[in-house]
């Protein structure tokens, strides 16, 4: 009968519609954005998600400004000229380590939010990359995955360095923050530095295992950037053996020749990892603090304290003809002096900001040697860098262990001027916050290095 046929026909059709066909049908195109599933259909899509992360961390709230020559460099005492109330709440209160001030609080909150937001972007891409391994070439998969893992570790480690407790080496088991290694909307456990470091190291080891040693990817976190970061992290947890091993691996790689002239004042060939900021944006970010009135800068007096006094040299390439006023001349008529690597009207300048410099490997190795009372090795490592900065060979001799450490500290201030790394050095060495070099204003009572964790 027809009835039976109908049953036999319609029911299976209806059922079929409901299982196979509908999943596709219900996959409605999204709004004006691109659906994640459409992004992750090709290697290019993964590459774009990865490049998107680099663009996010190059935002002015992160490594495009505040974690470089802005906020962090104020905390690092790179600038002295205009540390006075007129400079505005943010940098004046930052110079006082007044993290409770609303302007400072906003910037700190944004560092936390933007970093974790970039980490979420990383985790979404990492969550897809193994599932979609077949659309990627082997090299593409290895490069993209290792960079994503490396960036996740880099961001977490910098958050730890900022938000972790003072005197970090003695407070490795104090809970600081969660390590977000997957997409999660709920609560996560706050981990102590020990655990965060372990997870960073795990990510970095996994990344290093698939990264290519032959690719020199200065604008990306490649094999040598990963190794440099490992050295930095091991030093933080006072694992001098592994810190020295990783620093040594980079130093002895022969991939990064030290400079022999001052022509490249950005020392681009010495960059293990840097972040590119597109030209109009970088100019705009830099101008927003370096070309405003009053702006941040280092006075002639300050330059002498950092570069010349106590065993320095006027001929240090990082000082010699490097400081210009905002009108581009080298005459110190205007009080505000800037270093060319940050503010230079030459369009040939590469629009990059350093994340890990090769020279830091020498400082790490030197510190490791110095801790083991091997001052000779430490001085020899430091002398290599000094020589590459226009000092005569073997300029440091016969220094005590403490004096070597002081030289390392000076190097952090000279080499990383306007890059924020000196702040992390102060904090790691637990220097008296009220008595830091180039102090222009007194910190607020009870000031600490550790940023308050946003609620």
């Amino acid at each position: 009968m027809f009835n039976r046929k109908l049953y036999k026909f319609i029911l299976p059709v209806a059922l079929l519609l409901f299982t196979a066909g509908c999943k596709k049908f219900l996959d409605a195109p999204s709004r004006y954005q691109i659906k994640a599933d459409d992004v992750f259909t090709s290697e290019q899509g993964f590459q774009q998600a990865l490049d998107g992360v680099y663009l996010q961390i190059g935002a002015p709230g992160l490594y495009g400004k505040e974690l470089q020559y802005g906020f962090l460099s104020v905390l690092a005492h790179s600038w002295d000229t205009t540390i006075r109330p007129q400079i505005g709440d943010l940098y004046y209160q930052a110079a006082r380590y007044n993290y409770a001030h609303p302007a400072v609080k906003t910037v700190i909150g944004n560092i936390w939010d933007s970093s974790y937001s970039a980490i979420l972007n990383i985790n979404v891409a990492l969550g897809k990359i193994d599932e979609k391994k077949d659309v990627l070439s082997v090299d593409g998969y290895n490069a993209i995955k290792s960079e994503l893992l490396g960036l996740r570790a880099y961001l977490h480690f910098d958050l730890l360095r900022m938000f972790g407790p003072d005197n970090p080496a003695s407070n490795l088991s104090v809970a600081v923050m969660p390590y977000m290694d997957k997409v999660s909307t709920g609560t996560s456990t706050y981990l102590p530095a020990n655990d965060i470091i372990d997870r960073c190291i795990n990510d970095l080891k996994a990344a290093k295992a698939i990264a290519s040693q032959n690719k020199i990817t200065r604008g990306r976190i490649g094999y040598w950037g990963l190794t440099g970061l490992l050295a930095r992290i091991y030093l933080y947890k006072a694992d001098y053996t592994n810190a020295a091993a990783n620093a040594g691996e980079v130093i002895n790689s022969g991939k990064f020749p030290l400079a022999t002239s001052s022509a490249d004042f950005q020392y681009l060939n010495e960059l293990l990892f840097s972040v590119y900021i597109s030209a109009p944006h970088l100019t705009q970010y830099e101008k927003s603090i370096l070309n405003s009135t009053p702006s941040l800068g280092l006075s002639v007096n300050g330059q002498n304290i950092v570069f010349v006094a106590a065993g320095g040299s006027l001929n240090d390439w990082r000082k010699l003809s490097q400081f210009i006023t905002t009108n581009g001349t080298t005459t110190p008529a205007a009080a505000v002096m800037l270093t060319k690597k940050l503010y230079f009207q030459n369009s040939s300048m590469a629009n990059v900001l350093p994340m890990i410099r090769f020279t830091e490997m020498y400082y790490i190795a030197a510190e490791c040697a110095n801790v083991n009372k091997d001052t000779t090795t430490a001085m020899s490592l430091l002398n290599k860098v000094r020589q590459a900065r226009n000092f005569p060979a073997n300029s440091l001799t016969n220094l005590s262990q403490a004096a070597v450490q002081t030289e390392i500290q000076k190097e952090y201030m000279k080499e990383f001027l306007g890059e924020g790394q000196a702040f992390f050095y102060f904090k790691r060495m637990n220097l008296d916050i009220n008595n830091l070099p180039l102090t222009k204003v007194s910190p607020v009572p009870g000031a600490v290095y550790a940023f308050p964790v946003p609620e």
Binding site: N3, L17, S30, R31, A36, G52
Partner: protein
């Protein structure tokens, strides 16, 4: 207007305050434009196939497309540009052109079967439904007009936004259902139904939702024990219960989506050579909650239908409850999840609604030449919030903060309280000695300081009962009809007393009550606080229960008188059904707070004379 009746742009310059008062009416005499036009095209195709054995198949397919264009134009002479400096002269004028399109396709196929076996009757139907909708809109905004005379976008000089504003929403729905109705002897009826919906808006793990329902009804008047009588003609009791979902929540909520950085690229090789198209980056825009599902509403209804006195009186009454849970609300996640910048949605809201409704209508008098009908209906409903999310708590905190205008009630969403409540700080009236308002704080003490944390639920705007009552009287060819609406038991915040009396700026329009009954040492029993030049600046009145008033209203919504011309045939005019009717709307109202009205949208009374006829 000047002596010749021309509308003037400037009302007063300078005013007592030193500024210039412009005349909004002037905007109407220049080419200001706010129009929209739309074009709609639709097609419905239905096929029905009757088969043997009680089977039938119906299929339907429909397409609808609507395009709409909205033009919003403020000419350069519009008073909003009056304060522009000379150098901004050519920036005046603004034209917003919005084009939107909505397309929907819908198709369904149903198989029906019915069978009668003696007193048993079964009716079964099953079907599938597919639906796809697409809405898109583009808005361009152009500025830089010079003439007030022409309202055409082509006279503008530049885009005011660097890119047009666009929107796009697509939804897909696939649904299957089955329904069986069984009836015995026209006395008992039972019905069960099941629906399975697949919705593109749901999260990937919850693509499908199941809904079901059941109903029973009992026709008492068909029972054997029911003796036909002149009092009760028909009596039916019915009950139903079920769970339904909402098919319409935005499709993108369940998707993880990206956008491109369109103003920068990532060039890792330190070279500006051959970087065209390289280093394009994407960033997460929205992150899907794979668990997101359609909100669910569980509904129960119990009702009675009664027809009495030989169909002269109809009564219907029912009680209902509706509980919605898994309502889609934005989620708040800890900041370290990275989700603060993303809209993440979850099923966290809950609300319940219960109430009853009735309607009664009947013929009061009936004669050969006349008939008098009377009817009334009423609805009682109350709702209660059952669950909120952390996001809603944040909204509450903002609504209680000074970021929001606290001179007017701000909504708060509190579990156990109604949705449309008026939240105000309980007032103890004005202090006789100082004229300051005294408040009751949360812990019961008296304070002269207004604190948003002391707000209480001061009443809901939902009336306890509302409805309409109507009557019509026919006499020969005349018909007189009246409709009146009523609402009772609700509350309203008398914003006029706040804005135009106590918080009034005396340089501007104020309420007639602004000067009277104000507190002073000689008038300690006054209703309103002491008079000041600008109450909002000097002694602002924040939302207080003092201005929460009963909103019991009876209004005559419409009254009409009609005359139908019986027949033109004797005059040999080929017309029929000819009638003249005149009616008036919004004629009269009593009750409710004394507030200004028609400021947002003009209040209007209309008187209409209508003639209808048709040609034979």
């Amino acid at each position: 207007m000047d002596a010749y009746g021309r509308v003037q742009k400037v009302l007063e310059a300078p005013t007592v305050k030193g500024d210039t008062a412009y005349n909004p009416e002037y905007n109407a005499v220049i080419s200001t434009r706010n129009t929209s036009s739309y074009y709609q095209l639709g097609n419905n195709s239905t096929i029905a196939l009757k088969l043997q054995g009680g089977f039938s198949v119906t299929g339907r397919f429909s397409i609808a497309k609507t395009s709409e264009q909205t033009d919003l134009y403020f000419p350069p002479g519009h008073i909003m540009f009056a304060g522009y400096a000379v150098e901004d002269y050519f920036k005046r004028g603004n034209y917003k052109l919005t084009n939107s399109a909505f397309t929907s396709y819908e198709g369904n196929l149903n198989v029906n079967w019915n069978k009668q076996l003696g007193l048993h009757m079964i009716y079964a139907t099953a079907g599938v439904l597919g639906m796809s909708t697409k809405s898109e809109s583009v808005q361009s905004e152009v500025g830089g007009f010079v003439s007030d005379q022409f309202s055409d976008i082509s006279f503008g000089s530049s885009y005011t936004n660097s890119a047009p504003v666009t929107g796009k929403i697509d939804t897909r729905l696939l649904s299957g259902f089955a329904n069986v109705t069984y009836s015995y002897d026209n006395r008992y009826q039972a019905e069960v139904g099941f629906t399975r919906d697949g919705n593109s808006g749901s999260g990937s793990d919850k693509l499908y939702s199941n809904y079901y329902g059941g109903a029973i009804s009992w026709n008492l008047h068909n029972e054997h024990f029911f003796k036909p009588n002149s009092i009760i003609t028909q009596l039916r009791i019915k009950a139903s219960t079920g769970v339904v979902g909402s098919r319409f929540f935005p499709s993108y909520l369940g998707n993880t989506s990206y956008n491109y950085f369109n103003d920068r690229q990532y060039i890792s090789g330190y070279t500006s050579l051959s970087t065209l198209g390289a280093g394009v980056g994407t960033y997460l825009l929205e992150v899907a909650n794979p668990e997101l599902e359609s909100p669910r509403y569980s509904k129960q209804n119990l009702g009675i239908d009664l027809v009495m006195f030989k169909s002269r009186l109809f009564l219907k009454a029912s009680v209902f409850t509706e509980t919605g849970d898994k309502l889609v609300l934005p989620q708040t996640s800890p900041r370290y999840t990275g989700f603060t910048a993303f809209s993440l949605y979850g099923n966290t809201g809950g609300i319940s609604n219960k109430g009853m409704e009735f309607s009664a209508s009947g013929i009061l008098l009936q004669g050969k030449q006349f008939k008098w009908n009377l009817g009334v209906n009423g609805l009682h409903t109350s709702n209660e919030i059952n669950a909120i999310s952390g996001y809603v708590e944040k909204v509450n905190a903002i609504n209680n903060s000074t970021d929001k205008d606290q001179t007017r009630p701000q909504p708060l969403y509190v579990v156990g309280q109604p949705l449309n409540a008026i939240w105000a700080v309980p007032s103890l009236g004005l202090d006789r000695n100082t004229g300051n308002e005294l408040f009751k704080t949360q812990n019961g003490s008296t304070s002269s300081v207004w604190n948003s944390a002391d707000k209480i639920m001061a009443g809901t705007t939902t009336p306890k009962w509302s409805g309409i009552t109507w009557t019509s009287f026919n006499f020969k060819q005349f018909t007189l009809g009246m409709y009146a609406g009523y609402r009772y038991g609700g509350y309203a915040y008398n914003q006029t007393l706040a804005d135009k009396v106590e918080n009034a700026d005396l340089f501007y329009n104020v309420d007639a009550r602004a000067a009277s009954n104000r507190w002073s040492a000689s008038n300690p029993e006054a209703q309103f606080k002491a008079l000041s030049l600008n109450g909002k600046l000097t002694n602002p009145t924040y939302v207080t229960t003092r201005f929460v008033e009963k909103d019991d209203v009876l209004s005559l919504a419409s009254i009409s008188l009609g005359y139908s011309i019986p027949d033109f045939s004797k005059w040999k005019i080929p017309l029929k059904n000819t009638s003249i009717i005149c009616y008036a709307n919004n004629l009269w109202q009593t009750g409710g707070p004394a507030m200004e009205k028609g400021t947002a949208y003009p209040f209007s009374r209309s008187f209409v004379l209508k003639l209808t006829t048709s040609i034979k």
